[in-house]
């Protein structure tokens, strides 16, 4: 197998990527880089352009504009050397149902250039990693959905790619298998593999990704670490007060507190935007009570990526 030398610090360098389908611009000037050992997340709702970006990065479709360089080599559909550096885990299952897990792994391993003892050893290692050693000889059409998902990922890992590309790998997976998949990705990152991970699950992006790009309508709306992205919202917390009594008078009273930036009254309670919610909470509950509101429950919501997405695009992540 020909070794692919990493020529640059960035394992993946995407620059000015554009892809159009007729009148629709699915990807519009996307640029980002991923370093070795880094897990980079593309977070966005369905239809945001994540899979189209992945398709160009993996050399499945050409870009209309811009470049993709993987391990220092230009990636295009005709490029085979750059493809040795990637392991793709497509969103849809990509395994042969009439073959066993071992046969699936060996087939794709051979195409990646593995052979002989290397192939056998890596096949066994991956089967162990994805927890399918005891079912390796069964045809995959007899597998559960979670087992198929794990094999789908295992095939992408077999040749120890420099860049692992995972396109929504946990869609339709049961919680146990999902956790297993996330743990595997965390391990790979620790071992130094660069990972490009797309998801529309905020929790996965927060758990796995060193840096996250928030994608919507084919563009990167913001990029950075989780904490960097959260600061885009102004770093404010939300406090929800539920209860009865005079909520209107309470709202007026609370607007006068220094920590409170904004108050909404929906009739059944108040939603407040505050800086440093835990510190301000005691004064807010006391003020609401003094204004005639009988508070029955209190909730502090810290800012998260959902808040960031809402802040940047004006819509919820799962819209």
């Amino acid at each position: 197998m020909e070794a692919v030398q990493v020529q640059t610090r960035d394992v993946l360098d995407v620059s000015g990527l554009v892809r159009r389908f007729g009148d629709l611009t699915a990807v519009d000037g996307v640029s980002f880089q991923i370093r070795a050992g880094e897990t980079y997340g593309l977070l966005g709702p369905n239809g945001a352009g994540k899979t189209t970006i992945i398709s160009m990065v993996a050399g499945l479709i050409p870009a209309d504009e811009g470049t993709v360089r993987v391990a220092g080599r230009d990636m295009t559909p005709a490029e085979t050397d750059a493809k040795r550096a990637i392991g793709l885990v497509p969103q849809e299952l990509a395994i042969y149902p009439d073959l066993t897990a071992r046969e699936n792994l060996k087939f794709f391993g051979r195409l990646q250039g593995l052979a002989g003892k290397d192939l056998t050893r890596r096949t066994n290692e991956v089967l162990e990693l994805i927890g399918l050693s005891d079912r390796a000889g069964d045809q995959t059409k007899k597998y559960s959905g979670g087992m198929k998902r794990r094999l789908n990922i295992g095939i992408g890992l077999l040749h120890r790619p420099t860049l692992l590309i995972l396109d929504e790998p946990t869609v339709g997976v049961d919680p146990q298998s999902r956790n297993s998949i996330l743990e595997s990705v965390e391990r790979l990152s620790v071992e130094g593999m660069a990972v490009l991970y797309t998801t529309h699950y905020m929790e996965e992006a927060e758990r796995l990704c060193d840096r996250i790009a928030i994608i919507d309508e084919g563009r990167i709306q913001a990029e950075g670490t989780r904490d960097e992205l959260i600061t885009l919202t102004g770093g404010v917390d939300r406090i929800n007060l539920r209860g009865g009594g005079s909520t209107a008078r309470a709202a007026d009273a609370l607007r006068g507190l220094p920590a409170v930036q904004h108050v909404d009254n929906d009739g059944a309670g108040l939603m407040l935007t505050v800086s440093d919610g835990p510190t301000a909470l005691a004064g807010i509950v006391t003020g609401a009570g003094a204004a005639g509101m009988s508070v029955t429950s209190v909730e502090i919501v810290r800012p998260d990526l959902e808040s960031v997405f809402l802040h940047l695009t004006g819509k919820a992540l799962r819209d």
């Binding site: 398709s55 993996a58 050399g59 499945l60 559909p77 005709a78 085979t80 050397d81 493809k83 040795r84 990637i86 793709l88 497509p90 849809e92 299952l93 990509a94 395994i95 042969y96 149902p97 009439d98 073959l99 046969e103 087939f107 794709f108 051979r110 195409l111 990646q112 250039g113 095939i155």
Partner: protein
């Protein structure tokens, strides 16, 4: 090349494992051959078995020709004939009553009249059944009488020329005793025509080849539907290698299935297709043609289901037009179209091969099949790509 053969081996393993290739490429066509053979060809071989026949004859002629005529009928090699002599007046009724195949009335003085150049007539009475045996006997008698007529014409010509009577009789005898004008010889059909069973075997092999090669290139659609095509395209193999691997798979399956069908068909139905090398060239040519057609289909359809429908329609049209079920003939432009049908060319080539034809003799059908393949490949490059290769 390593990637190409890895993909071919993988495809073949899957096709063998899912067993559909065995069903559609071997079991169904062999079963269909058997059924069609029973429907069109009966249980025996292609030769016709003539039943024993009885001839009722009057022999009032005292000369040699009447006796010679009955002797010839009695000693036919192609069927067992019994000649029973009765008075001339009873020939008709006895033929009708006994169920004989034929009645022959040879009038008195028949030989003398024929030998002297005078008009002479033999009356025939067909049996009630008027079966195949009757037709054969009528033809035989007609041939012998024509021979006698030659002697009569010769004698008449001699008389007109003023030859003496002795010489006229000698000439007439010589003419009548000459080589027969009509002979019956058992033999094979024309060089480009297979027997009924041979046509069925070759036709079904050609027809189902169209389905078998579909397991190759059209497999791209199945790969796309099960998601593996995207993964293959992310591997360090070219897109051309992926398509070529499918074509190789279809070609190998087609060549093996057609060879097995011809071999099994020839054993089961007692058909010989002639020289194995010539047959091999014909098989490879028709498989090439069929494979090229799958490239065209793969270009046009979007789903595996559409591909199956399109492939079935093409297989049936080409198979029926090629003579897979019964001979189809046309004139003018239609005849030219039929001649360009690869399955028709395949059956024609096997006919030539079965008749002892060499590689040179099958050059025409081979050229038709390879030309079809070339046209298919060109067409597949020209057509807009909306299918599996998109």
């Amino acid at each position: 090349m390593h990637g190409l053969w890895t993909m071919v081996a993988n495809d073949l393993r899957q096709r063998i494992r899912d067993k559909s290739v065995f069903i559609f490429s071997l079991i169904v066509p062999l079963a269909l051959m058997g059924v069609l053979s029973l429907v069109f060809g009966g249980l025996g071989d292609d030769s016709v078995d003539l039943k024993p026949a009885t001839v009722i004859a009057s022999a009032d002629d005292a000369g040699p020709l009447g006796a010679a005529l009955l002797g010839a009928v009695d000693s036919l090699e192609i069927m067992d004939v019994t000649v029973r002599k009765v008075p001339a007046g009873e020939v008709r009724s006895e033929t009708q009553a006994s169920g004989a195949a034929l009645g022959i009335i040879i009038p008195a003085g028949f030989s003398d009249a024929a030998l002297s150049g005078q008009p002479a007539a033999v009356q025939l009475v067909e049996g009630n059944g008027a079966a195949l045996e009757t037709g054969v006997l009528v033809s035989v008698v007609q041939g012998i009488v024509d021979q006698f007529a030659a002697g009569t014409v010769t004698a008449a010509a001699g008389g007109a020329a003023g030859l003496p009577d002795e010489q006229l009789a000698a000439l007439a005898r010589e003419a009548a005793a000459g080589p027969p004008l009509l002979t019956l010889t058992e033999g094979q059909a024309a060089a480009e025509q297979l027997s009924l069973r041979g046509t069925l075997v070759a036709g079904q092999a050609g027809l189902f080849l169209m389905f078998t090669v579909g397991f190759g290139v059209l497999g791209l659609l199945a790969e796309r539907e099960q998601g593996t095509l995207a993964r293959l395209r992310s591997m360090p193999v070219t897109g051309g290698a992926v398509v070529a691997a499918k074509a190789c798979t279809g070609f190998i399956l087609g060549a093996v299935a057609t060879t097995v069908l011809l071999t099994a068909g020839s054993r089961l139905f007692g058909v010989s297709f002639g020289s194995p090398p010539v047959v091999a060239v014909l098989v490879l040519s028709v498989v090439t043609a069929a494979t090229s057609l799958t490239f065209v289909v793969a270009r046009l359809v979007r789903t595996a289901e559409q591909a199956n429908v399109a492939q079935s329609i093409l297989a049936m049209v080409l198979g029926i037009a090629g003579g897979a079920f019964f001979p189809v003939q046309g004139t003018g432009f239609a005849a030219t179209l039929l001649d360009l049908n690869p399955i028709g060319a395949f059956i024609r080539g096997l006919g030539i091969s079965a008749g002892g034809g060499s590689l040179g003799d099958v050059a025409g059908p081979v050229a038709v099949m390879l030309g079809f393949a070339a046209a298919g490949l060109v067409l597949s490059r020209v057509l807009p790509n909306r299918g599996a290769q998109a």
